[in-house]
Amino acid sequence: MSKPHPTIRRTFLGLSLLLLGAASSASAVTELEFYVGNKGIDTWKALFAAFEKQNPDIKVNLVVPPDFVAVLKTRIVKNKLPDIVAMGGDTNFKGFAEGGVFKDYAADPLLKSVKPIYIQQIQSIVGGKQVYGIPYTANTIGLIYNADKLKQLGLTPPKTYAQFIAALKKARAAGQTPLTLTLKDAWVTLPFMNAIAVNTVPATFAAQKNAGKATFKAAYSGVADKMLEIAGYAQNDPAGTSFADGTAAFARGGSVFYIQGDWALPDILAANPKIKLGMVPFPATNGANTVVSSVDLLLASAKDTRHPAEVDKLLKFLTSKANVTTYLRAVNAPSVQVGTVPTDPILSAMKAPYSSGKIAGAPFNLFPPGLNAETFFQAYLQDKNKAKLLDGLDKTWTDVVRRSN
């Protein structure tokens, strides 16, 4: 077979390339990858379907990996970060953001509708002016109570620490189990710790600690004392009770109080739809108490995404008031938007701190990843060894920071 003339070949090649190009631009559907944990999956799907109807040239692929963080890390290592990641503003986010893989939204108009406190949280997690994700939903920690049981005891929801301890004592005297604690899962100690520390430890603690000007020994001593005192009113064998078992037990009327975030409410109601619940700001001190409200979900996008325009389009769509409301209703989470307060009747007592701005991010979100504070608190609530807890946290913090420098 003789070769065709080079000009002919080149023309043919050019033509075929043109054809290919034309074909691909005609049916070009940009595919965006959207990574999310396991919350509100159906709502995401519905939102994306509406978005794709408006933008037929964009397809959003929802990916719900098991073990979200580990999978995301492997993707980052391979430099194949998903276009958009929906994750919590937590210590994992801190690690990724410090690794410089997310786009900075500090100057983006999308942030205008977000309460400044949540933007500050995202900034302080990384410790700069950058905002590596758009806050989407918040969570809140409080004291959950069984309204019927509280009424039987002739009590009102406690507003101060003194009232709380008195209520626990009264419940015990009446032969009730005052409190459910699920310490078999180490992470459960974190919301417990956060709810107290946000009121008694200065917000600058993490920065001070990194500068060597603060210690757990000094700052967290009171937190440890209060945790131990409250834990004394827990059910039998709290150390052997897992979050799932304890939540179900509380739902069945196992105790008067339960210390958890709002994420536990759907689980409680699923186990017992008839239960009358309430949540109040955690009575950590005898003054006015600040409520922990962290960014439960933020939308971060890959710094080097191949489709920045499409990503912006999708983020604009998702953060529109109507769509945010749709999502919040579905997952029943407090909003991060300016001028909103929690609407769920169970959280009615939480409205005041939200409207007066007495909310703050969880202190734990500023701890370095790898500190594993939860394991220290889990051990402490059993061996009651405060010196071991505080020294251990102090020393490990220093070690972990030194290792990553």
Partner: protein
């Protein structure tokens, strides 16, 4: 081809020549496995070793830091505690598994009714996933065992033992031994079937009792199987991971944290990828040394036997 002719010209030793002339088919048959092993095992292992000299978090930029990670590991109380727990656990579990497996294997090898059914039953735990078994036992320890403990009035068992820092390891040990014994039973059974029956017959004629038969015939004859069982069990239990994930997650506190679990937790959740890679390299060396020492010691015993 040229290699063979050169080999024939040079006066090499016969075995080498034979190997050179070997049929390339066998080489081709072995090649895919070698390639797969290299790509999915050797190459990542080398990568991990290289990362252990950096401050890599698992993502983002990193610098070389020399031996710093290795020096810090030896001062890390959490790592030392994990080594203590892992070795204590592995030694106990290895002894228990081998005693149980050998006992059961002798029973299953003797002339009893339903022998094949029983063998199948004893082998079952080996087929089940460790994680599933772990979650089932997690439920049993939380709900069933405390009820039994309360009924019997045993204080130690009246609560979830997995929530007690002093007792949680016993729960893990129980599940690990229960599941691991099956595989070792199979190995011992294979060994017991290699013993010629006439040895026992002559022992019977000499009037030997069952214990004497075990001491002087059975145990020496399966010495090689004993070695391999001890080495495999030890190696497996030193790497204990799934059972702990399913039962305690390393808690309460860090009282049941094994080295593997610590490497995983610190490396993937704690952003200490390079640091825990160094830990993994040290652990690899420890595993190799332990296995070699065991093999040498036990094989000397075989020769004497």
């Amino acid at each position: 081809m040229s290699a063979i002719s050169r080999a024939e010209v040079s006066s090499t030793s016969p075995p080498l020549r034979r190997r050179r002339r070997g049929n390339p088919t066998y080489l081709l048959m072995a090649l895919p496995a070698v390639v797969l092993f290299f790509v999915f095992h050797t190459y990542p292992a080398i990568q991990g070793i290289l990362y252990s000299f950096t401050n890599f978090k698992g993502y983002g930029d990193f610098d070389f830091v020399g031996l710093r990670n290795y020096l810090q590991i030896f001062q890390d109380e959490r790592v030392l505690a994990a080594y203590r727990f892992t070795f204590g656990f592995a030694v106990l579990a290895t002894v228990l598994v081998n005693v149980i497996a050998l006992t059961v294997a002798i029973g299953l090898n003797s002339n009893i009714r339903f022998r094949n059914l029983l063998r199948a039953v004893y082998f079952l735990p080996n087929i089940l996933s460790v994680l599933i078994v772990g979650f089932i036992f997690n439920y049993l320890f939380a709900n069933l065992v405390p009820q039994i403990g309360q009924a019997l009035g045993v204080a130690g068992l009246s609560k979830n033992i997995l929530g007690d820092p002093g007792l949680a390891w016993t729960g893990i040990l129980f599940v690990a031994v229960w599941q691991a014994a099956a595989f070792n039973i199979i190995l011992y059974l294979a060994g017991l079937q290699t013993i010629p029956y006439d040895l026992y017959e002559s022992a019977d004629i000499d009037g030997a009792g069952p214990w004497q038969k075990f001491r002087n015939i059975t145990f020496p004859m399966i010495a090689a199987f004993f070695t391999i069982n001890m080495v495999l069990a030890m190696k497996g239990f030193l790497q204990v991971f799934d059972q702990i994930v399913a039962l305690t997650g390393g808690g309460p506190g860090t009282s049941t944290e094994s080295v593997s679990l610590l490497i995983y937790k610190g490396g993937f959740d704690g952003g200490q990828f390079a640091y825990q890679s160094a830990n993994a390299v040290i652990f690899l060396i420890v595993l190799v040394v332990v296995s070699l020492a065991q093999t040498r010691f036990l094989q000397r015993r075989e020769v004497e036997a």
